[in-house]
């Protein structure tokens, strides 16, 4: 009997191992997963906008293109935390040309332990053979990493998310292997809503609440900045407007902002804030505290594009020109 049991275990393992290879191949062909898309199709942007849902729903790269004349891609993805952002950025750099600028959305709630954005392991299951991905997943989801050693379990563990993505990837591969994602520049316009659910959102917020700093988020924010600087990419942290209305702002928000500023200063990167904009006072621009409606998103995209063009891109260009001019002068003097 034990011979038969062993045989069925070996055959099962073989089938599952084969299925794991096929599933990995298919999932990587899913253009709707940004991590997969940027490793399969050339994007080669000059400007990358990155972060969680706020930039994904709010920054239209086409608007930035038109203002800065630089090709822009929105790498942000909703519900993600800084560890996701780090892996997306790492996978992007692995296959694409280095961008010149990285604009990363950073806000006090992004460091809050209780915020709903968490590491989404399922997005990276087809990249588990990469050591950086493996160790990042291991740090953020250790139990998954342990069970993922069983053949195919890396795909079936988060089956709710992965099966549909494998199916989509398979469809995409069979119909057209170079299929474009639904939103080629990475901007996912918020879906128009009949009712503004902002009030419903407020009912979920505890009164006089406090944020709790989560160290692992800080660690991965630092890793993103360090990775970018290693590739000589100019990093800018920014926070888009938030609408609090009459609701009390969490009492330690200022303290968190100060911590972010200290990290920015430590790495000599800019931290831009847009909370004093006139549009931030209009509730019709928002559907949650931090997410804007389509109207608000387009208005903010224009403001953001102009602002980064003046404060970052032109400034960097001037510094570059000045630096080149000075260097040329030094060379000339040396020659003389």
């Amino acid at each position: 009997m034990w011979y038969k049991v062993l045989s069925s275990l070996i055959i099962s393992a073989g089938i599952l191992w084969g299925a794991q290879r096929v599933a990995g191949f298919m999932m990587k062909r899913n253009p709707e997963l940004k991590a997969c898309h940027v490793t399969q199709t050339p994007v080669n942007a000059e400007i990358l906008v990155h972060g969680s849902c706020e930039p994904e729903y709010m920054i239209d790269p086409d608007v930035i293109d038109s203002v800065t004349s630089l090709k822009t891609y929105n790498l942000a993805s909703d519900h993600s935390d800084f560890a996701d952002n780090f892996l997306d950025f790492y996978l992007y750099l692995k296959k694409q040309k280095d961008p010149r600028y990285l604009f990363l959305y950073v806000s006090p709630p992004a460091f809050d332990k209780n915020v709903s954005n968490i590491f989404q392991t399922f997005k990276y299951v087809s990249f588990m053979d990469d050591p950086v991905v493996y160790y990042t997943v291991k740090e953020n989801d250790p139990y998954f990493t342990t069970v993922s050693n069983i053949p195919f379990v890396r795909f079936s563990y988060y089956s709710h998310f992965t099966m549909s993505k494998i199916a989509w990837g398979a469809g995409s591969f069979m119909l057209n292997s170079h299929s474009e994602p639904k939103h080629p520049n990475g901007f996912r316009p918020p879906i128009p809503r009949a009712n503004n659910p902002l009030n419903e959102f407020w009912s979920l917020m505890p009164e006089g609440g406090k944020y709790t700093w989560f160290d692992i988020r800080e660690k991965y924010l630092r890793k993103i900045i360090e990775l970018a600087q290693k590739h000589h990419i100019i990093v800018t942290l920014y926070e888009s407007p938030a609408y609090f209305g009459n609701q009390p702002v969490p009492t330690n928000r200022g303290e968190f902002e100060e911590k972010i500023r200290r990290i920015a200063n430590e790495y000599h990167v800019q931290y831009l804030k847009y909370d004093d904009l006139e549009m931030a006072k209009d509730p019709s621009n928002f559907f949650t505290t931090v997410n804007m409606t389509y109207k608000g998103a387009m208005e903010f995209s224009r403001i953001f594009a102009t602002s980064i063009n003046e404060k970052v891109i032109q400034k960097t260009n001037q510094q570059f020109l000045k630096h080149t001019h000075t260097s040329n002068a030094v060379v000339k003097q040396d020659k003389l």
Binding site: S8, F152, F155
Partner: protein
């Protein structure tokens, strides 16, 4: 640690090794008891203390009550009042203060179970006292066996409900050798149970929770209809999946538990449904409530049957929970069964005249629809939510969602991920139900077949949903 989790299987493995190494029957019982207490302690120490104390109390009470040959009715009432009061106090009233385990959703959302399986072993203790009082059985002499009958880790969570004497009979003849038959039948049941739970029930969970718990979930009659049907299917695969795992685990130790389901989705009447669904619970209620009542009122004939049905299902509703939604669920079934009893002659005449396949084609969907309707109350968080769903269900102007037919065909108005999981889950459920009879036939085949076991393993690992699959629905009862 829940039934079907990795630590659960590790516990089985360790227990199996020690169990089969030992040749001593008493030692084997102690090993099973120890494993059961370890399992219960993962939920709470209160669970361990409660099951042990309640077992000791019932064991010695019956022993001493019968000793003088004088187990009086008053004595029976006293001990069963203690048993039922313990159930109410420990599971219900204390939970009102600490966990609010009063309604389905609240109970299901709780991450901890205060007292594991108390609803199930209370029924066994009550039955034991009645059986000893009625002199159907002599009182048990093996305390370890008695505690084990209540706390056995394979079934303490959700049953099947079983006679303590029938369980203890098997303890006297525990197997000495690990046989191919026990291994094959046990592992096969565990694999099939896990497939039911992890591959099918878990894939439907997200949509069921959304339709019942989200304020935007059931906006149209169509979605309420889907909610009722999906919950019934989810409950079946969740609960019968657990029962399969329990039966399979017990079989590995040479213990045979009672079957709890027998293809309920093939029932052509509500009474048949209850003969096929949660069989052990209904047998308990039939034997200890229905028959005594029907016998007492036998002079009234039909009235006796109707009163007995009403009382049985009312108690069954209360056993599930003190919430009003459970009582309405019970009332639904009382109404169905009373109507069925009153129309018995007509339906029997119709059944004789009609082709059996045609009869099943007409009455099976009606039976399932009636059960699904009652489940709208059973699953709803509270009465206002249930009544809102019923109102939406019968608001025919607003029955269909505001999407085109082609959109409905494409993704049902949901995102691709949700509709994919739902449709895949429904497809697998239908596939299982179609081949259910064939699958049940394999339960008696005691030889290990490589192809069949490979197939089951691959299906489970490839299609199972493993994250968050920790709770079984009936655990809260």
């Amino acid at each position: 640690m829940t039934t079907g989790s990795l630590p659960f299987y590790l516990l089985i493995l360790i227990t199996l090794i020690v169990f089969y190494v030992s040749k001593d029957m008493k030692f084997k019982q102690w090993i099973l008891l120890l494993a059961s207490l370890v399992f219960a302690s993962y939920y709470s120490i209160t669970s361990v203390v409660t099951v042990t104390l309640m077992s000791i109390l019932n064991f010695y009470y019956a022993k001493y009550a019968i000793k003088g040959g004088n187990y009086t009715y008053t004595k029976l009432v006293v001990i069963n009042t203690i048993n039922i009061a313990s159930l109410l106090l420990l599971r219900k009233l204390i939970d009102l203060g600490f966990n609010s385990l009063t309604t389905f959703s609240q109970g299901f959302s709780n991450t901890s179970i205060v007292i594991l399986g108390i609803g199930f072993y209370t029924l066994q203790n009550v039955a034991y006292q009645i059986d000893v009082y009625k002199k159907r059985f002599a009182p048990e002499t093996n305390l370890v066996g008695y505690i084990l009958a209540n706390a056995f880790f394979a079934r303490v969570t959700m049953g099947p409900v079983m006679n303590i004497q029938a369980f203890n009979k098997q303890l006297a003849t525990l197997p000495v050798k690990f046989t191919e038959e026990n291994f094959t039948l046990g592992v096969q049941r565990i694999l099939i149970g896990s497939i039911k739970k992890l591959v099918i029930a878990e894939r439907l969970t997200f949509t069921v929770n959304y339709l019942f718990d989200d304020p935007h979930g059931s906006q149209h009659g169509y979605s309420v209809l889907v909610a009722g049907l999906l919950f019934t299917v989810q409950l079946y695969f969740d609960f019968s999946g657990y029962i399969d795992i329990a039966l399979g685990t017990s079989r590995l130790f040479g213990i045979q538990l009672k079957e709890n389901f027998n293809m309920p989705f093939r029932s052509t009447s509500i009474s048949e449904w209850w003969r096929r669904w949660h069989i052990t619970l209904i047998e308990w209620f039939t034997q200890y409530i229905y028959y005594p009542l029907a016998y007492k009122l036998r002079h009234a004939r039909t009235t006796a049957t109707l009163v007995a049905i009403a009382c049985t299902f009312f108690v069954s509703a209360l056993w599930h929970g003190l919430g009003i939604t459970y009582i309405i669920w019970g009332l639904c079934h009382i109404t169905y069964l009373i109507a069925e009893t009153l129309l018995k002659k007509q339906t029997m005449a119709l059944q004789k005249k009609t082709n059996p396949a045609l009869y099943a084609m007409i009455f099976t969907p009606i039976t399932i629809a009636l059960v699904c309707f009652s489940h709208l109350f059973f699953r709803s968080a509270d009465l206002s939510h249930a009544t809102r769903m019923i109102y939406v269900l019968f608001d025919f102007k607003n029955f269909w969602p505001d999407i085109s037919f082609s959109q409905w065909l494409m993704n049902g108005g949901d995102d691709f991920e949700t509709s994919f999981n739902l449709r895949f889950g429904v497809f697998l459920a239908i596939l299982y139900l179609v081949f259910e009879k064939r699958i049940l036939n394999t339960y008696s085949f005691g030889r290990y077949r490589v192809a069949w076991f490979t197939f089951l393993t691959v299906v489970l690992v490839m299609l199972g949903v493993f994250d968050g699959a920790s709770r079984f629905i009936y655990m809260q009862f």
